[in-house]
Amino acid sequence: MTPNVDDRRVSRWVARLVGLGIVAVIGVVPVALDRDSYPLSTYPMFSSRRTAVEPVHTAVVTAADGAVRRLSPTQISGNDEVIIAAQLVYDAIRRDGGEVLCADIAVRLSDVETGSEVEIVTERYDAIDWYEGRKSPISRVVHTSCRVSGDGS
């Protein structure tokens, strides 16, 4: 079935409008607004001017003997996405110094880490040095800490 001339003219214009609309909505609007969102984005991943020395906001557990153990994203945030966990710690520090998050993590760990301390920390390392074997932090700030009790409180 061959479309008639009018139909073809209309569909040609529809196609052009769809194409222009897609370019405008997906391509131009996010850049004009300079906003990373979903599903429209400027796709800024890996594009920042990263230096070798950057802060890492995280939560750790310090055992009674002083040993420091890293927590997984799930233990920190309740979600297994590392970026969500990192953002959660960062936001928590800005919000209340990490106190609420510290208490949340302590509750999550109450079955396995009784008697230990949760610490919300900002650590600063030279990332290149780290992978060349020099793993001492440049700085380490403990924002807050809280004890893991066995009763889930």
Binding site: T2, V23, Y43, F46, E54, I84, Q87, D91, Y131, E132
Partner: protein
């Protein structure tokens, strides 16, 4: 060029894309079910709506999130099978958009689902179940090649190109020449792996080892930007150029996975690039091989009219 969008395509091509993208999405949701499920338990104070949920400032009830997740998966199965597609097609595209938006509404946008969400909108709001679907089983007439099948595919191609080009532009825009010829990429790889280690997450030992070789990174940065902005070759008629670009982009994601333990599953599965090619031909070969194996004769509608064209309108190049 202005009529690049206006091309016919066989209904089977769009149907193949429906099956591929639908299957991918259902598999992705099941593979990441823990993350979708756990998004119901993220702290209320972290709620920060994005995209279509921009207004969100308190989380939904866990029951609603869990029901939405199960419903999205169920709709995805129906979408892939092409059941009641006039309703299910748009419904799945929109519900997936809402579900995936909700998962990202807690402080940080992850960029793994953007393209698949856009592709689902193109497929879901088109007549992509006119062939190889539950809906088309009893239809006697064979759909001819038509722009109604070509335009959604062109929309998918355009979305794919734009995402890569924007990513390439962002690197130069935010990182400047340092991104291309300096240590920015090396620092990115080192920092990202270190952050994962400090946050108790799987990281890439290969990436950690590689950052010792500073000279590797400027050429890698230039190549990355070249591949991303090079997505524009997908606009060309040259099938070879499109293959070269798709394989280069796929290779780029493999390297990102190897060096940074960051997975972009949609491009890694290659389904993201399927819209660039005559995917129905591969699907037809698979169907014919299956028929030969089972001893059935080849009598499908698409076999009878595989070369049908609507006349006058140029077909999608392939």
């Amino acid at each position: 060029m202005i009529d690049w969008m206006w091309r016919t395509a066989p209904a089977t091509r769009l149907a193949t894309l429906r099956i591929l993208v639908g299957t991918y999405t259902v598999a992705f949701m099941l593979a990441r079910s823990a993350s979708f499920w756990q998004s119901a338990d993220l702290p209320a104070w972290q709620t920060e709506g994005v995209g279509v949920l921009w207004f969100l400032d308190i989380p939904w009830s866990p029951t609603l999130v869990h029901l939405l997740f199960v419903g999205t998966v169920a709709l995805g199965v129906l979408f892939t099978a092409g059941v009641g597609f006039r309703v299910i097609g748009p419904a799945f595209a929109l519900v997936f958009l809402v579900m995936s938006t909700y998962r990202l509404s807690f402080g940080h946008v992850i960029h793994t689902e953007h393209l698949v969400a856009l592709h689902l909108l193109a497929i879901g709001f088109s007549r992509s179940a006119d062939e190889w679907s539950f809906d088309s089983r009893r239809r006697r007439e064979v759909p001819q090649d038509h722009v109604r099948y070509g335009i959604p595919i062109r929309a998918m191609i355009l979305a794919t190109i734009i995402t890569y080009v924007l990513a390439g532009i962002a690197k130069v825009r935010h990182g400047g020449m340092d991104w291309l010829v300096g240590d920015v990429l090396r620092n990115q790889v080192a920092y990202d792996n270190l952050r994962k280690e400090l946050l108790g997450s799987p990281h890439s030992p290969l990436g950690g080892w590689t950052v010792r070789f500073a000279w590797l990174f400027p050429p890698a940065a230039v190549l990355t930007t070249f591949v991303e902005i090079g997505a524009l070759v997908a606009l060309t008629r040259s099938r070879r150029a499109r293959w070269i670009w798709a394989i280069s982009a796929w290779g780029f994601h493999v390297v990102v996975l190897a060096l940074m333990a960051i997975s972009f599953p949609y491009p890694l599965s290659f389904v993201a690039y399927a819209c660039l090619f005559d995917v129905e031909q591969g699907a037809e070969r698979v169907i014919q091989a299956a028929r030969r194996r089972t001893g059935r004769t080849s009598d499908s509608k698409s076999d009878r009219l595989s070369a049908a064209t609507s006349g006058g309108i140029p077909p999608i190049n392939g």
